[in-house]
Amino acid sequence: MSIFLSIFKKKIGYALSAITSIIFVYYGITIGNIYGYFFIISGLVWLFSSIFSIFYDTYGKWLSPLFITSILGMAIALTARTYIEFLAGWEIMTIPAYAIIGLNRKLDSPAFIFMGFGELSTILIFAGFIYAYTTSNSFYFTALDTYIPLIVITFGFMIKMGIFPFLVTEWLPIAHGNSPANASAILSATMTLVAAYGIVKMMLLSPDIPILGYILMGIGGFSIFFGALYAYISEHVKGLLAFSTIENNGAILSAIGVYMTYPTKTIAEFALDVIVTFAFAHSIAKTGLFMISGTVEGEALSKLKIIRNKLGEIGGILLASSMSGLLPNIGGVATWSLLESLFMEAYILHSTLSSISIITGSVIAMGEGFASAAMIKFISYTQVFKGITGKSAKITIFSIIGFVILILGSLSYLLFRNFIYGVPSLGIPNGFIIISEYSSGKIFGDISPFYVLILIVVFSLLTLGIFGKPKVRKTNTWNNGIKPREEYTAFAFANNIRLMLSKLLRTEIKGDSLETSTDIFWKVMYYIAKKYVSFSRRLARSYMNSSISWYIIYMILAFILITILVVIL
């Protein structure tokens, strides 16, 4: 109903969708199983983006109905109990998104690319579902006894998450980068969440297949590295965030991979909690970050028009630090737990296969380094150092999200139900430490986000109490003796990596510009696609050769084929 209303009056539509999101969150809390978390996450994201959209939407009449319809599609997909419902929801989710992207720019290619890859993933999912149907004879999601649907469907969902091996790290940033900020938020945060949800659902219903787990771990690790690297060198304010989405989806995929390899029951349970935590951390923080990108004017990081205030700075820093994997935010918990699970697996397995998890862990650590740098770059150039001070409702909203992230960090104990501990002798009562166990009773490591927060606050207050308010003297900048004239651009910030990894990024310095090709894989893919196109053209020409006699032969052949099929079946 909110869809119809939104066509007439945008703000009411958004408000209604916000209210329904709250209902969705409640539903998630009460449902009790692991899927409930996904509902909670999605509900929160939709709530925040709808409220944000009230202030943000200055586009035409088309944005709000499409926005809300896409949310509807996602909700249907998440609550689907049959394959058909899921697919319906999937399509309802995708088509308005395509429309948003297309109408935003009146550019066709980002939308087409989005649509093309969306349909490719739909085909794979559809094929997987058909196979599942044929083996289980039911349209409902039930336990299966073959893992083939899982494999096919996983690859289908992976495309939607923009993961590396499909050599298509480019399409997601193009698509997400070309839509308005509120739509980008729901695309990045929840559309990819639905994909993760899909894989998890199928995974829990299918038998074990460890080899797929290792493959996913490796792919996930690689995506983290490359997603983070491209995020760091990106100059597009939304493109940077889109690459960061790829990076985080890679992390979720790695966690899924750990679960699939099922080293011990404890580690597998831990891995499931990792998936949920990462989903929380990424979706909510990414929503906030996209809102930041919606509060600034312009798209090139080095040339933005910004309004900012103290609240925005704090909120922005909280969001960015969560995405960089720092405690006490939930992002820190997520990164820690992912690395713990990988290293625990390596420890347990004691075989050559453990090298895969160690290598993945190391690659992830490298990627996190780039992710931190990318977040620092993003937040410095959008909220912390530049721009005019001013008030804005949009800023308030994402700052609220920033604080939510902080609180979630302290609440993350709830996500790790079976893994909490306490050391009363140190003053930490039971329930405030998250531990990683690899089999019952054997502890590998631990952290305590709530206590980190407490200690930060306590020590700050202590310092303030002992030393008093800091004495501040305002003075002119020393710039070699003359007035400061220049500003360090965002482009220059990341240029050291563009030059150092010039072979990997194909950096080219031309007379008046420096360019990198952000996807060497895309060139390969494009090459294959071109070859395929020319092959199919030749093939088509060979048999569709405008000769009546051949067409008659085709018709006769088709007739015979259909007759045979009918007879057999």
């Binding site: 100059e235 003359i482 220049e486 651009t489 220059a492 240029n495 310095i509």
Partner: protein
């Protein structure tokens, strides 16, 4: 073989002659306007890494240098030299640049001698060669010390500083002043103590030199850095590129042909080549010095009215003065300093390198801003 040196006042100076008019201008390829992400990075005028005050604007999009503009006019001084007597003018010329003081004064005096009547005693000319070569030794050691300092190479840094101080003390003992102030005048050359011995410098420098060029890490910072192979280059920069350019063999005025020495060249045209050339020159200069007998000398000279051009090979290249005398007073004077040409070469050679290459390249040219930012009034 004639080569073009540069613009000296209203003349264009060549290695064997000069013409009135402006030198043929080479069009600098204009770098396009600032592309996306590029900005101007300020270095100087007052910064710890720069020896003198000079404003350097580096256009970059991060790490990579697209273009450099050197502004030597922050410490521009006006030298009130016109209508002063020749003796008074020498006071000013000495203090244009202390490091090249002997080269400046002697090239000024060469210009004066060209419009005078008497023949100059060969002993006096030998003493002039002595001063220039001692200055060359000290300056080349200083350039190498700056290169080693940029690399953070502490042991040779202090060894070279020790050597430079020793050379300075020897100069101070021989001539009474470490930078040749008050040594040259129109009638005599002041000697303080003729018994000063320069042996020992060669052995000491040889050990340091051979050690630093064996160090792979240090050499890596210099090789491929600041490559410039330009026909209009001068001094060690030209000789490092393989050009056999040296005013000592081109200008007949000072009797270098009486001495046994050779011009050092190299073939790499980068900062490393300039290091090698300067080091070899130290050995050659020591050889020249060992062939000169020092004794104080007075001589008679009658200066007419007229104009003349004097040129010497200063430690960083050709240094030339155009002087016009009327009634014993200097009425017109122009200076072609080697640093003004070296700044152009440096700017061209710095493009396409990165920030960390900057200080090595800058020091390897031996640029002194104090001789560029002067105006004679």
């Amino acid at each position: 073989m004639r080569r073009l040196i540069g613009q000296l006042g209203k003349f264009c100076l060549y290695s064997d002659t000069y013409f009135e008019g402006t030198c043929p201008h080479i069009e600098n390829e204009e770098i396009a306007n600032s592309p996306y992400g590029a900005f101007n990075f300020t270095y100087g005028p007052s910064a710890g890494g720069l020896f003198e005050s000079v404003g350097i604007d580096i256009n970059t999009f991060g790490e990579y240098i697209r273009n450099i503009k050197v502004n030597p006019n922050y410490k521009k001084r006006e030298i009130r030299i016109l209508d002063k007597s020749i003796e008074d003018a020498i006071l000013y010329i000495e203090r244009i640049n202390a490091a090249f003081s002997a080269s400046h004064v002697i090239s000024f005096l060469s210009a004066i001698d060209k419009i005078s009547e008497s023949d100059i005693d060969s002993d006096v000319l030998n003493l002039r060669i002595l001063q220039i070569e001692m200055e060359r030794i000290r300056n080349n050691l200083f350039v190498i010390e700056r290169l080693v300092e940029s690399a953070g190479f502490q042991v040779p840094l202090y060894q070279l500083q020790y050597l430079i101080e020793n050379v300075n003390r020897k100069i101070g003992k021989l001539f009474g002043h470490r930078y040749f102030f008050g040594v040259n005048s129109v009638r005599k050359i002041n000697i303080n103590d003729p018994k000063v011995d320069f042996t020992g410098i060669e052995r000491e420098f040889k050990t340091i030199y051979e050690d630093i060029i064996e160090n792979r890490i240090f050499i890596d910072r210099l090789q491929g850095n600041g490559i410039i192979k330009d026909e209009r280059s001068i001094g060690p920069a030209a000789r490092a590129a393989g050009f056999y350019y040296d005013a000592r063999i081109e200008d007949e005025f000072l009797p270098y042909k009486d001495f046994d020495f050779k011009i050092s060249t190299y073939n790499s045209a980068d900062a490393f080549g300039r290091l090698i050339v300067r080091s070899e020159e130290i050995f050659e200069s020591l050889r020249i010095i060992s062939q000169i007998k020092v004794k104080s000398k007075e001589y008679k000279i009658k200066v007419n009215d007229g104009e003349g051009i004097g040129r010497v090979e200063s430690p960083s290249g050709d240094s030339a003065y155009f002087v016009k005398v009327n009634n014993g007073k200097v009425v017109n004077i122009d200076l072609l300093s080697p640093s003004s040409i070296n700044i152009e070469l440096f700017s061209k050679s710095m493009v396409k390198n990165i920030f960390t290459d900057f200080s090595f390249n800058w020091e390897s040219f031996g640029i002194w801003i104090s001789e560029v930012g002067v105006r004679f009034i």
